[in-house]
Amino acid sequence: MTNEIKILSPCGMLGYGFPEQSFLRGMEEQPHGIVVDAGSTDAGPHKLGAGVSIVSRRAAKKDLKIILENGVPKKVPIIIGSAGGAGASVHVEWTMDIINEILQEQNLQAKIAIIWADIPNEMVIEANRQGKVNPLSPNIPALTDEIIEQTNGIVAQMGHEPILEALREGADIIVCGRAYDPSPFAAIGIFHGKDPGLSYHLGKILECGALCAEPGTTKDSILGYIGDTSFKVKSLNPARRCTSISVAAHTFYEKEHPYILHGPGFTLDLKECEFKELEGDVVEVSNSKYIPAEQHFIKLEGARKVAYRTFVLAGIRDPILLENIDDIERRVKEQVNDYYDEIPQSDYDVNFYNYGMNAVLGNKEKAVFTGHEIGVMIEVIGKDQELANSICATARSTFLHFAHEKRKSTAGNLAFPFAPSDIEFGPVYEFSVYHLMEIETNPFPIEYR
């Protein structure tokens, strides 16, 4: 027990919140590190494209305040992975601004290491020309110079190596740009000489907070222990417990494969893992295997602006309209196209989402509609915002007054919940870069402040 390294994970996403009592129970165990993940690609490409966060500044500060005011005075290293939602420089600075504000308010001093994860577009263009950049799956288009140039804020997922260096330099707080989610956790174990397989597998579990417990949630704290031949996880809230199945099943979560995980410079093989329930609702895991890769690849992420959007939400309750909805929507779109015959149809698009009918699954929906009302979202995509607004206004008024032959509700077809009805959404982004790039030297510079 004396040689165990303890890692406290406050929650699955910085700014999601966690019960302070759970976190303090973790602090009582004198952890060797407090590590929290702050980013994900889940919420979509706009975070990278527009340089915005997923959580509010208020929520990020609320979580960080608890972490800093407990960790900094006790000299427990604090690591934030994928700062600010996507880990580009703008997100890192957003996080640094909050950290500095808290340190000042609490009158705390700390040595801060920032590990940047931005990859210059020119570096990607050069590597791409040399054939060192490959898409991660067959449905990702190959990169061209044009796509790379149009992409904002390309980042790469760092491994544990630069974080390890910052720990060796004695940093109190390490703010990482984009990181492979488990890496900031794994860095603590590896720093203390533990097996990288166990360190990474534990990191994979801890990065989601208490999601591996029963009942699972990302909004609660969890504690991990790494020994020499196994690691353990324990819930810090008596309302949850870890079971061998809940922990084993966790590696399924949002990963393409249940027991083969690819990280920067390695593969993690969890096929032979053993999950054992110990006393006190602790689960012990062994046999996680770290297999170093022959070539070192890093995963690049980047987003570019592809269009502008305006949309409108409305309800339809009339049975005759519902019965003929597909036909009506098709003809509304035709009328809009006819009205704007001077505008090329490639400059804009009108899409209808019929909530209550098939909006979630689209053409994969096999259930037959039997409801009495639906929500319709008219979405207009345009090459600029003015065009999207204009087309949406015309599509909305055309739909509202569309004279379907069989209708009895001749005064209007749509129930708008709000006035004004049309919502200017702004730019729409896409993940334009989601590729592996082969590297020879570490592209993640460290800055100390």
Binding site: E256, N351, V428
Partner: protein, 103 residues
């Protein structure tokens, strides 16, 4: 005959990265897991039929005994959060699996 939805403890979908969708079917008893595994209903053909996709769009179908779970990973038609996507997190795309009947 029981539906997969009735037998599973967890039946969910989520992105695995912005270009893939992954479905997890987890069970709370070895019997139920084994019955589904042995039924040979969770196949590439079934997934292609339910999701209107072709064989090469099915990335993995893996049965993982220690976790009593099945994972199915397919390619997304549209990447997460861009024009034409209907489900940014991919969190409601498990529904087509619910009514698979198991003997």
């Amino acid at each position: 005959m029981e539906t997969l939805f009735d037998m599973a403890k967890v039946l969910r979908s989520k992105n695995s990265g912005p270009f893939e969708l992954t479905m997890d079917i987890l069970f709370d008893s070895v019997d139920k897991y084994q019955r589904v595994k042995d039924s040979n209903k969770i196949t590439v053909e079934t997934i292609c039929d339910l999701y209107n996709i072709t064989e090469n769009e099915v990335r993995h179908i893996v049965f993982f005994d220690p976790a009593m779970g099945i994972k199915i990973t397919i390619l997304r038609d549209v990447s997460s959060g861009t024009v034409g996507d209907r489900d940014v997190y991919g969190a409601q795309q498990h529904a087509p699996l619910m009514n698979i009947l198991i003997d």
